[in-house]
């Protein structure tokens, strides 16, 4: 069966149907206008639930059975336990032993700890993953071994798909560091604290059945609740939902690499000299080593100038918490906490607020947080001469990362990508990105250790740093400089088979990943 492929607005050939469902090709930024009404899950009745509110069920297996687990269902999980997650794999272990087949796993992200799921992809328990695919899972998909086609969405795209009914979750299994018997749950407390549960909201609201799994059953009410018990069908108590040291790092570390520090230095200098960094700024940066260094340098500038950032959006780290506590940041709105300092801060600081991704990133919403951010620091595996970005595949063609919040964050006022010009001989700037994840019109500045390229569309930014002494170059000059050092790379070869689809924030298909050709 061949599915028709069409050229989308970004010039990429994409199918009109994925996994038997029709899809809409990407139309351009802000061009696709959704129609109709939001998806609605089944209407429950209190008469089906215990009057004393106690929904504790014997085991995860029992809860899954009671939820009517059967072939072809969509099972959602969140990734707040990160690489320490002990719950997601368990679901499929149970399903496999029950002989269930063709499940769709719909996580908000996957981690190396999920690699064992490959055996359930192999034995048919799981048909496909719609979420992020890292490391060996990505390799598995890229080699065409997964039965269904993977669908990759941003964090915002994921909640949009849930809200719009593109993905109908049959059972949401929500691990929770603390929960009460009614199903109210939060990210703090117990031995598996992850801080906040910013990725759980849409799942609990829209799934047909919701199971909360906790290793820390607390007295009702579990407060402040991020998952509200009214949405929850069953509560399961287990010994351990996660491995603490893998859930949050003891401490996030700024990079020690001299080159990355140089990039961070240049980024801070750019923010200051361009005037983007100013009193009252809203900002967001990730938890990577370079981003953390930038946060530290920015903090110093704010301090020196006596300025204050109005709000920062998490993933939070101790460096952001430091800004909050030392008075250089008014609020942290937080979807996930990356280290122990951040987890502690959420618990004790009223201005460090759990803020769901559903509110922050959903594009099919009445506005969201991302477009209000002045400074957005992001990464990429590749950027091309038109400033298009790739975050899911490497230049060798293998699927290796999820989109995360990257696409959503592109809507910020100033999108800045601090990147090494080449990584172990692999140039970051290419003629055409291997996989298109974000259109160049939304990417403003590339900052490398060998120079800064500003998107020609941002004439205001170019003007703002004239005569600043910053090493400004065109993106083409940067590309040529890298190729002079590394040599011109060859391109990977692909088969025609599509192994993954990349969704844009509005649910349209911006690009696909094809199967790696085996030489």
């Amino acid at each position: 069966m061949t599915v028709k492929r069409v050229k989308n607005a970004a010039g990429r050939f994409v199918p009109t149907e994925i996994n038997g469902q029709p899809v809409i090709p990407y139309k351009g930024v802000g061009k696709h206008k959704p129609e109709g009404r939001k998806y609605s899950p089944r209407i429950p009745s209190c008469s089906d639930f215990p009057e004393d509110g106690n929904k504790v069920t014997g085991s995860l297996e029992e809860a899954l059975c009671k939820c009517g687990l059967r072939d072809g269902m969509t099972i959602s999980t969140h990734h707040h336990l990160r690489d320490g997650d002990l719950v997601s794999n368990k679901i499929f272990e149970i399903a496999s032993s029950m002989g269930i087949r063709d499940l769709i796993w719909f996580p908000s992200a996957s981690f190396p700890c999920n690699d064992p799921l490959i055996k359930y992809l192999d034995n048919g328990t799981i048909n496909r993953i719609e979420g992020s695919m890292n490391g060996p899972l990505g390799r598995y998909v890229s080699e065409g071994k997964m039965k269904g086609t993977a669908v990759l969405r941003s964090h915002g795209g994921r909640v949009q798909a849930i809200q719009d009914g593109e993905v109908k979750i049959d059972i949401a299994v929500m691990a929770a560091p603390s929960a009460d018997s009614f199903g109210n749950a939060k990210g703090t407390g117990g031995t598996s604290a992850c801080g906040v549960l910013g990725y759980a909201k849409a799942d609990t609201m829209y799934a047909d059945k919701v199971i909360v799994v906790t290793d820390n059953l607390v007295e009702l009410p579990c407060f402040p609740m991020e998952i509200e018990g009214n949405y929850v069908d069953y509560v399961v108590v287990v010994d351990k939902i996660g491995i603490p040291e893998k859930i949050v790092s003891g401490t996030t570390q700024i990079t020690k690499s001299p080159d990355r520090l140089l990039i961070a230095d240049l980024t801070a200098a750019f923010l200051e000299k361009s005037g983007i960094l100013k009193n009252g700024v809203n900002m967001q940066a990730g938890a990577g080593g370079t981003s953390l260094a930038i946060a530290v340098f920015v903090h110093q500038i704010l301090k020196n100038k006596g300025w204050k950032s109005k709000l920062g959006f998490g993933g939070s780290t101790k460096y952001m918490v430091k800004m909050l506590e030392e008075g250089q940041m008014g609020y942290i709105l937080d979807a996930q906490a990356f280290d122990l300092d951040s987890v502690a801060s959420v618990e004790r600081n009223a201005n460090h607020v759990a803020y769901p991704v559903f509110n922050a990133y959903n594009y099919h919403s009445k506005g969201n947080l991302t477009s209000m951010m002045d400074i957005m620091i992001l990464g990429a595996t590749e950027v091309d001469l038109n400033f298009n970005g790739n975050v899911v595949t490497h230049s060798d063609g293998y699927l290796l990362h999820g989109i995360g919040g990257w696409q959503n964050c592109l809507h910020a006022r100033n999108v800045i990508l601090p990147l090494p010009l080449f990584r172990d001989r692999i140039p970051v700037i290419v003629d055409d990105v291997t996989t298109l994840c974000g259109p160049g019109e939304l990417i403003d500045v590339i900052i490398t250790e060998r120079g800064i390229a500003i998107n020609p569309l941002r004439k205001d930014l170019i003007e703002s740093v004239k005569g600043s002494g910053l090493p400004l170059k065109t993106i083409k000059e940067l590309k040529e400089e890298a190729e002079k050092i590394c040599g011109k790379p060859e391109k990977p070869e692909f088969e025609d088979d599509i192994v993954a689809a990349i969704k844009w924030v509005d649910g349209t298909v911006i690009d696909v990943v094809r199967k790696i050709k085996n030489n």
């Binding site: 001299p258 001989r425 250790e449 060859e490």
Partner: protein
Amino acid sequence: MKSAVAISGNTGPKVRSDCEITLQLSGKGGIAIDLTSKVKTLYGKSIVNLTNQVLDFFNIKNANVRIIDSGALPFVISARLEAAVKKLTDTELEYLPDFLPENDYSTTRDRFRFSRLYLPGNNPGLMINAGLHSADGIILDLEDSVATDRKDEATILVRNALRQINFCGAERMVRINQGERGLKDLLSIIPHNVNLVLIPKCESPEYIKKVEKEILGIRKKLNLQNQVFLMPIIESALGVENSFAIAQSSDNIVAMAIGLEDYTADLGVQRTAEGKESFYARTRIVVAAKAAGIQPIDSVFSDVADMEALRETVLISKSLGFEGMGCIHPRQIPVIREGFAPDETEIEKSKKIVFAYESARLNGLGVVALGSKMIDPPVVARAQKTIDLAIRLGLLEDNWIKNISS
């Protein structure tokens, strides 16, 4: 034939931008290449082509080559191959990658040498971006940072790095080995535009003269125009005692450095942060260097994480009369530069003195006074030095004096 199999280069989980090559000459069957590389998709063909080219250059027609590559650049791969070939065959040939035109520059005797960054000579990963960190000098080290059994391959790598890496205007320095090995090093590196040679563990003027003679010989033979400066490093009690004679031993010496790790070991004392044990040696080196009209350069500061302690050390160093310091991490460079540069108070004071002197001179006055205080000529000279330094560092405008007068 020396031995059957040769290995060169490095591999391992932490190795970046390098490769390990195992070369085995065979009697027949042509060249067989077994390549493992994380950049195989992007550069596999080019690595294989380069390998064939290099082996052909050395006239090797039959061999088994195993390459475990961690993203090595072409000049690194060819250096590793050449090193392996030279372990198996006797050859004078050198496979030289192109010499980048931007590397064709010379330096001057009196340029700043505030910071000079040490790079281990057998670690290509640290070399590639070294020029981006604005050190006054970059030292490709063949001595202490290279294991004894890796000296040959490091020399080839350093030679290729001198040709292929753009150090962005930093003074191109090489630290050679001691003794005969050091003289042999010169043969490999001098033809590739080395601006300055660091001579370790200097104890007498005689060795400097040997180095100078060797360099002169190479320059004459190859008709090289570039000037090669020398910087002896004093690292022993005997070296300290002979420091003035060493400093005077060649016109090409532009600076003299002290190495405190070896010096304290020679004395049989602990090296402390406070540095009482090396105070005499350091001041002695400063005086000897100043007497000989060259720059005294301080030892490296080894705690790369402690920037505050480095800052303090630099200020002490500057107050003793040193004009620069070694770096072992790029992050130390700005701290050292800022430390050695004149601060605002110094500049302001010097401006007043020089301005007073110039006004007195214009008015034909023999005596210079600032307020009610007389100023002696050496004070004016020192102020003028500070002003010159500030102008060259871009801390002061060239025509500052006009701006004051008008």
